[in-house]
Symmetry: C2
Subunit: 676 residues, 2 copies
Amino acid sequence: MTDLPLVIFTPSGKRGHFPVGTPVLTAARQLGVDLDSVCGGRGICSKCQITPSYGEFSKHGVSVAPDALTEWNSVEERYDRIRGLPKGRRLGCQACVQGDVVIDVPPESQVHRQVVRKDADTREIVMDPATVLRFVTVAEPDMHEPSGDLERLTEALQAQWGIEAVTVPLSVLSRLQPALRKGGWEVTVALHKGHRDTVHRILDIWPGFHEGRVYGLAIDLGSTTIAAHLTDLRNGTVKASAGAMNPQIRFGEDLMSRVSYAMMNPGGDREMTLVVREAIDGLARDLATEAGIEARDILEVVFVCNPVMHHLLLGIDPVELGQAPFALATSNSISLDAAELGLATLNPAARAFVLPCIAGHVGADAAAVALSEQPGQSDDLVLIVDVGTNAEILLGNRSRVLACSSPTGPAFEGAQISAGQRAAPGAIERVEIDPVTKAPRFRVIGSEIWSDEEGFAEATQASGITGICGSGIIEAVAELRMAGLMDARGLMGSAAQTGTERMVPQGRTHAYLLHEGPDGRQILVTQGDIRAIQLAKSALYAGARLLMDEMGVDTVDRVTLAGAFGAHISPKHAMVLGMIPDAALDKVTSAGNAAGTGARIALCSVAARAEIEETVRRITKVETAIEPRFQEHFVNANAVPHATDPFPHLGRVVTLPEVNFNTGGGAESGRRRRAR
Amino acid sequence: MTDLPLVIFTPSGKRGHFPVGTPVLTAARQLGVDLDSVCGGRGICSKCQITPSYGEFSKHGVSVAPDALTEWNSVEERYDRIRGLPKGRRLGCQACVQGDVVIDVPPESQVHRQVVRKDADTREIVMDPATVLRFVTVAEPDMHEPSGDLERLTEALQAQWGIEAVTVPLSVLSRLQPALRKGGWEVTVALHKGHRDTVHRILDIWPGFHEGRVYGLAIDLGSTTIAAHLTDLRNGTVKASAGAMNPQIRFGEDLMSRVSYAMMNPGGDREMTLVVREAIDGLARDLATEAGIEARDILEVVFVCNPVMHHLLLGIDPVELGQAPFALATSNSISLDAAELGLATLNPAARAFVLPCIAGHVGADAAAVALSEQPGQSDDLVLIVDVGTNAEILLGNRSRVLACSSPTGPAFEGAQISAGQRAAPGAIERVEIDPVTKAPRFRVIGSEIWSDEEGFAEATQASGITGICGSGIIEAVAELRMAGLMDARGLMGSAAQTGTERMVPQGRTHAYLLHEGPDGRQILVTQGDIRAIQLAKSALYAGARLLMDEMGVDTVDRVTLAGAFGAHISPKHAMVLGMIPDAALDKVTSAGNAAGTGARIALCSVAARAEIEETVRRITKVETAIEPRFQEHFVNANAVPHATDPFPHLGRVVTLPEVNFNTGGGAESGRRRRAR
């Protein structure tokens, strides 16, 4: 046994013996205890606050004397006077070990343990951001040993932080000399090192100690919507989130129509590149304003997106993605200056990182889902469906992961639907239809009250009832089927056939009246709406089946619905509709915006960037566009399941009425038409 | 002895045995014979042309049979038909060894042996440019094994050229897919790898085989003039050279007045940065036009300049260079995108390299002189003086190299001189004054005829006689002293004192009439001109003396005059004037524009870039501005040597007349006033 004092850290439980006089911060570092420090132990940043405990600790087998640490010193006194230290706290860089001691590291001093909170579950990731702040003291120039200010800063970073080499953009180099002099040869620098970089890059410099304001943007760039999360790179917390429509919609609603636009219009790809970059820049500006931060403090941005969005973001003509063999210009992840993407709102030296693509039709968004959901770490076979205008589908477990994408179109996002709209206050998001009376009840976004409950009118007065969003139309179609108003092929009956005046004639077809406003404005579910949803769900289902074929399985253990919209889908209705393969209802969960979460993880961790590159290499890519079985599955998946389908998994047993609204032609066979 | 055929290459004499069927190019590579190839042995580039010799070679001890190489094949035939092969030539990649053979590598097929021609001597450097062209065949995309086009290009570069990793700017990435398809999966790429880079950068891409057009600019950015050399990066030859005045002159003639301008005028540094960048861009445009090349084919630019020019080029406020301790923002060499310097004329992805600075007053131009003249490789002690508005002075040999700079001002470049002008046609560049008649004779730039020779009037009719350039004023002042018209302190005598009407009164002083035109316009050497030259030469001499003090020597073995202007100085007159320390006249040589040569060497060789960085670290920097002995030397050097000075080295013995034109005050002592 050594005679040296024993130092025990809680909550980690790490312990070790250290010489008398060892600063607590030094002991923590040597033991690998997660204790923050930005100023490098100079008593400036106060990030290394700790709480010593005194007395008997039978659990740890130590007795801590009142003089187990050195006395409160002048640095701590000054800090406490100027900025205040909570009672009982010491600065870990100032308090030195004198005897056995138990030291608690409060959560705010633990920088590396962070939780990325997702909608449905939480997950812990190790903070390992590419961009960090470092406070450093630089030697003054000496005429007799001339060297540049940058070279002395580099030496200081080496000596004080172990940074081997740095590069500096001109925009920072030109501010280096005034910053050093204004800061009295103490400066804070923002350092960036991506997972493939060999040197650090100085992104910004501030005189003196710059309280940690360093932010990043995680952006999920979808065909229809752009979602951005302003994230504090010190601890991974989201300061603000915002979404916007992708302005490229005016060039085409789905990916292929945008590719066509680029093919048919010289310079069309440049147009689309410009508008989406402007929209992203605007989002960044809005987020900075909302969070009350300087946009200059945004030092990094991470993108996930499908391949066409990826190419258009980077300014690459996506024409090759519109035709076999669907060759990506580049599939690896990309690191570049955000300024190259025209993101002028951010710090001029801000960096951008774009996750790798998996294949010509399976993009960085799918990679981000894989990063967030980690199918390759799953013991059971999980099907992950990221629902959007283009669906990304992953199927796998520890042994193998497959991926494909499926062109569902924008119907699931409320587009191509007669009363469709974005998920916003006033949109119908939940629907039930009484199987007996055929009357609907619904809920709109912004209120928890059902339309047949008291207070509904008041609760929806402000927003109105403006349309149906994606989850609403899915529930409406599934409920129409369950209420016997729609047959297995997706045909709705007339008022006479169904016995309800809710069915109103519309040309040669019928529509279901979901709601009529006081002004007479009707919200209908039309036969065209049902066709659009059928096409979308068939594409989704066919993609999933294709992967199951490839894996050689008929069932999956779990289904995860992802995507901003996936989070809101009712698993029961999705299954009635035949969007996803059958699974036990309690095994169908939502992962929220998994792609966005993947972007945030990559923003917070360079290790995760390396991980996803490796993961992407191991994923087996399946190309739906050239696979004959995809068409076959697609056609077979068109039906909405028949009465002979049991739904034992659906909590309650749902028996679908055996109706047939065929208005002519051959009889519909009762045979199950879905693929096996 | 092996039975394998013996292959002997001339002129290198390298030899080795190779299996029958070995391509000549392969044999050359294995032996380290310098045989070019751009296309990687595909018979496209024709760079590997060789000339086989047949018959008896007693010198080499071999007999070469007519069938020593495989027969002329279809690739060679096609090449010869389309582009033509000189008689007797073969393509080294096609012709294969069948028996003992002697193969001559013609000079144009030897890429790595290149001569950088300097004004006074030639020097061989190994071509090792950072930027090269590479032809490569890329695998076509495969839908079932999806990978990006860039990733397949990268694999091809690895397999075909051993390039480990590449990065690609967006501007190139966006052109990658069309280039690959247009070129039928064959492309030529311009690759760049600086001496500190860990990966290659793709600067440009062309479909198919792109005949080697890859150029660089070597730029010597001086306070007064900018000199640029457009260089072929394939072989180091200069395609065109051009010079321009530095437009910053309007903000101040010398460095310190420009620093003052920046200090006194907010944004003044930005103004100066903008005008010099524009001037450089204009020079690049002019050079491309003159050489008949596309400016887009200029892929690299190398700069040498003094520290103030260095900072202003990079957009760094030079204020710190105007005051002790003269701290540079950065002293190391810098690699960056040329676009960051606003050089929009060049290729959008062109790279820029700025040589390292030695100290706050000793810049990248001095580093370039060290790279060109290599004082550290000299056995004897060499003094190198790069004469300009700011003089860079190096003193050293194998054991030690010292450097300083000295603020000579622009007098040596014809500025601050009453009839001074740039070195251009019409400027008086050579002067002699008859010691007896006191009459002058001179020569002007653009004519070899002296003014007292027949045909002078005709020869100078076009240019006229417009003024005196730097070398002319130096000769004039030295000749005035030798003719007894000026005393040791630099005072000129009156017509009465000197006995010649050439001396004309000018206020309280006298001026020497060098020339009077038919229109009565006079070119005079005034007392003010002499004072300006005295100040300049004193500064230069004092700097050299300071280094000699530091080295502990009284004499040097050799003197090298460098600088665009240094090349034109008459060593004899420089020594009479006391510009430089005494040395044997045949030991005073000109190195031409050594800084510009250094820039060209750095442009042609990454190894040279590493070398100069290492050299600069080893050079001892001497700061003239704070060294009291500099002032002392400066004051002592003011005199123009007295009659008691012997000039045994000057070829003929020059005896300076003992005159004294003191117009009052204390008697001038005959003691030599120059420092010892």
